[in-house]
Structure formats: C-alpha cells, structure tokens
C-alpha cells in the first residue's frame, strides 16, 4: 500500500506524519499505525504462524518504531523501515523460542532446483466469480501459507503490499537479483496452488488444442 498523497492537511503523507511525531506530536503516530498494521501483522505471521505470538510481536514492532522514530531519516520509505523492524522482531522471537527453525529462514528449502509448473490447463474466465468472497480469501491465504518463508516474505511485500523490488530487497536484507529470483518462484508456486481450483472443467476446455509432444513446461 502506498501513501504518496499530495500533502493535503487531511491526508498527510507517511513522511509528514513521521515528521510530526518527531516534533513531539504523538497523536500523529496513530494514522501511521492504522495504515501499516495489517501489512506488518501478516509479515510477522508469515514467520511465526501463530496469532497470539504475532499480535505480541506486532505490538513490540510499533513500540520499537515509536521509540526509534527519532533516528528515521527518510533514506527508505517509512513502510520499508517499519517492515524491516517487524521482520527483525519476528525473527528474534523465532530464534528465542524455536531455535531449530531459525536456520531455515534465510535458506532455500532443500531440493530446490528450477521450478517447473505442472498445472497447465487454462483457467475459467473470472474464476473467482464462482466463489464466495470469504472462500476466495481463505484460498489465497492458504496459497501464501503454503510457500516456504523466503518466498512468502518476498511475495507478500512485492505482490500483496505493492512495494517495489528494490524496497522488498532492502526490507529483507537481500540483493535485488535474489529478490527477483525468489519472486519468480513464489509467483509460480502460488499460481500452481490455485490452478486446480480455477481450471476449466473438461467440457469447458479452451478451443486451441495443445499439440502432442509440445513444450516441456
């Protein structure tokens, strides 16, 4: 989510709000919380997989952000700065309570070569129209939860929260090429997860036949 408002008094930008907090106006922190709590929560939850722990770490994240807001100099966007705090706090919690799992957080899951999509049937047009809104929401959440942490993080930041690839890489402390590689794989895996739910039924198949022996994709 971006908030690049034009600075109108009723819709200040994140950076204007940060400046007001830095000047001592603590009330200005509330809209920052309201804007960014959801993305911070889901980033934390993607690491901890537990609502109670995630809520506690979310609170710690904003307390820490408030405590250190004087050191925010605007080199990165506030959203990126905050997400970096959230990720650090969640990883610290992970290390403290489940040290065995920590090792895997930054590593490629074992046995990962190039991802090869297997579901190549076409999807129904607007497949989501056949689902209740909450059913689609639950399916999308399950798809994201099915990703290994290194893919989930990058997918959430880039494709759900619409940060740029550079901001995503900065928030995660990885290079831009690494972010792009992970993003490609994450997108293909989410697509693969959704495909069986959305593909056309037998009688609805697309008219263009697939040539036998074609493409290994």
């Amino acid at each position: 989510m971006t908030h690049d408002g034009k600075g109108a008094a009723d819709n200040p930008t994140d950076e204007q709000l940060v400046h007001r907090v830095q000047e001592g106006d603590h009330e200005a922190f509330t809209p920052l919380v309201q804007r960014h709590q959801r993305s911070a929560y889901w980033m934390i939850e993607s690491i901890l997989h537990n609502q109670a722990d995630s809520e506690e770490v979310l609170q710690e994240t904003f307390l820490k952000a408030l405590q250190h807001i004087g050191s925010f100099r605007g080199e990165a966007r506030f959203a990126t700065w905050l997400i970096r705090i959230a990720i650090n706090e969640a990883r610290m919690r992970q290390r403290k309570y489940r040290p065995g799992l920590y090792e895997s957080l930054d590593e490629e899951p074992p046995g990962d070569g190039e991802f090869r999509p297997r579901e190549l049937s076409d999807w129904r047009p607007n497949p989501e129209q056949n689902w209740a809104r909450e059913e689609i929401a639950a399916l999308l959440r399950r798809a994201i939860q099915s990703l290994a942490p290194i893919y989930r993080e990058v997918f959430l930041l880039r494709d759900v929260e619409h940060q740029s690839t550079e901001e995503t890489a900065a928030a995660l402390g990885i290079t831009v090429p690494a972010a792009k590689t992970r993003l490609l794989r994450a997108r293909l895996m989410v697509r693969e997860f959704l495909a069986p739910h959305f593909k056309m039924d037998g009688h609805q198949r697309a008219e263009t036949p697939v040539q036998p022996g074609r493409s290994v994709l």
Partner: protein
Amino acid sequence: MIRCEEILREISSYLDEEITSEMRVQIESHLCACRHCEVLVNTTKKTLTLVSDNSFLELPQGVSERLLDRLAKRHDSSR
C-alpha cells in the same frame, strides 16, 4: 525463437514490464505460437490480480484495538 525455458525465467520481468522492448516482442511472438506458455503467462497474471486486492489479509478481530490501546498506555506512562 526463444524457448519455453526462457519464458519461464522471464515471466516475472515480463509481467512487471521490466524487460527490453526487443525481449517483449520475442516473448509475445512465442506466446502466439505456444499454448502452454500463453496459459502460464495468463494464469500467473490472473494470480497477481487476485492477490493485489489485499483485503483478503484483514487483521484478526481485536488486534488493532489492542495495539492502539497498548501504544496509548505506553505513551501515558512515559509522560
């Protein structure tokens, strides 16, 4: 003509419009001729459209209220 493996590698950059116009032409020419890759690109694009409306990740009930409450208490105690 570029191969299916290259489409697979470039699909993200293609959808993000982060490729050269020359590569774009090559990819689109491949997609016209290869049904598998066309489906792969279209369904990946659809995937991104579905998640881009990020309302499917709402906060669990009460989380926001308790967060603001804790911040307010912290602020009060530091006065």
